[in-house]
Amino acid sequence: MAKPLPLAQRLPTRRVRILTGIFLAALLAFFGLDLNLGDLIPRDSGFRLVLEFFGAAFTPAFTYQSSTGLPEGTSPFLFKVGRGLWTTLTYAIAAMSLSLIGGMALGLLASASFWERRHPLWAVLRWAVRLLIAAMRSVHELLLALVFLATLGITPAAAVLAIAIPYSGTLAKVFSEMLDESPREAADALSYLGANPLQVFLIGRLPRAFPDIAAYSFYRFECAVRSSAVMGFFGFTTIGLYLRQSFENLHYREVWSYLYALIIVVLILEVWSSQLRRRFVA
């Protein structure tokens, strides 16, 4: 008799157990929240608002929806959209620049491949960095913004820091995983030629992970644009501020202008990043 295949026998039951677990967790969440599909149908006043709001989507505003109450010398509406967009982008760029530096530095230190061929005691530092990264990721930028608003007031630094801290953590985590998953054969070959651990890592390993790192950074920049827009809800002068004001004034056509402006920015980023990606991969 051939030996039994322990792995093959165990696999299905284990898979079933995991799937059952996920399903049970979903059930628990649904009943715990007392979810009711009927809640998704808006009531009379809500229904009218929905019609009005989505109706405005077909006629976004190009000028202010109502000129009453506008102070003398107010710049044109489209100018305001542009200014909001520009501020949103500058917040995102500033936050992303900091995050790239922090994410790269922490990502290197958190990756196993960086510490290969070094003294095992360095693992202590690596785990400390991983702990730090986890802490940075665990608080959402909006919560951090609340904290920084209370301590720093409405300064751009507060919003930028609030975005940069969790973003650095996320980038560091993902970068470190990309580095560790990149092919290692070429790096080994360099160590065979007498290269030191840092040379092996920077020249043999990092370049292989670079296309993925660049693509992911682009995606995170897109997220940073969204986060920076939302920062406007706290009073920072990004597009979110104007969006909220228009919404509160029931100027839905203006709201849609802002939303379309954001969509266009994300589309432009998408085209740009896919072009760059093609260059890296080809």
Binding site: D188, L193, A195, I203, G204, F210
Partner: protein, 258 residues
């Protein structure tokens, strides 16, 4: 004796390779060819016995000294040994990493000096792919990539070249060209060449000395002509291989020189 995991991979291997010699390692897969090559450049340290390279014993060397010795030993692998998405130029320049400080090696890759550029181009011309200098390495064919690996070795200026199945991933017609080039370069540069080859005919054609490994032991060591068909059949026969898993650490331990 060299162990990997529990069972010894090499036992009682006692070899001496003279300077400038060209040696082919033959034997079925799992015979210990790769392990022997890795022992020669100190990637694997035998549990018992010793490896000496040019009079220096590799045991108990600190990392710095070991890197110094490795910088004089070129290594050509079967495949995947080049950084695929770097240019050919940068892969060749990486040959000298073992002798470069950190900052100068970084500059080599970011902004190669004019003299190095000229030298790399000359070397690439020598291996027949001078026009590929600025191409991305993964855009080259398998045979061309092995030429880049040889160019890297040339730029490294070693005294020994180890090659682990250098033509196993290259199509048969190109294999001869690559081995032709490799042995020619070894002669020109005075390299000691040790290569594992699984094609018997190629080993005979290009290497004056053949070492047959079987089950981690030297089965044959001598001039290629002395290898009889009967010995070859025995070398690759499956008899005895089944015992490989049962070998324990009690086998005879001998000194090994590389």
């Amino acid at each position: 004796m060299v162990h990997l995991g529990g069972a010894p991979v090499l036992r009682g291997v006692d070899l001496e390779v003279g300077s400038g010699e060209r040696v082919a390692l033959l034997g079925p897969s799992g015979a210990g060819k790769t392990t022997l090559l890795r022992a020669i450049n100190g990637v694997i340290v035998p549990r018992s016995g010793s490896v000496e390279v040019q009079g220096t014993a590799l045991r108990n060397l600190d990392q710095r000294r070991l890197r110094q010795i490795r910088s004089r030993i070129g290594f050509v692998h079967q495949d995947h040994s080049l950084v695929a998405n770097l240019r050919v130029l940068h892969n060749v320049v990486a040959g000298r990493l073992g002798r470069r400080g950190f900052w100068s090696s970084l500059r080599d890759v970011v902004r190669t000096s004019k003299t190095d550029l000229v030298e790399v181009h000359r070397i690439l011309e020598r291996v027949g792919i001078g026009d590929k200098l600025f191409q991305r390495t993964d855009s080259l064919s398998g045979g061309q990539q092995q030429r880049v690996a040889l160019a890297r070795a040339l730029f490294q200026q070693p005294t020994i070249l180890l090659a682990d199945e250098p033509v196993a991933s290259v199509d048969p017609t190109r294999s001869r060209d690559i081995l032709d080039l490799m042995t020619e370069l070894a002669e020109e540069e005075g390299w000691t060449l040790v290569a594992s080859i699984h094609d018997l005919a190629l080993a005979r054609e290009f290497f004056p000395r053949v070492i047959g490994l079987r089950n981690g032991e030297v089965f044959f060591d001598g001039p290629a002509d002395a290898l009889t068909p009967k010995m070859v059949t025995e070398l690759y026969s499956l008899d005895g291989l089944d015992n490989a898993g049962k070998l324990d650490g009690e086998g005879a331990s001998k000194e090994q020189d590389g």
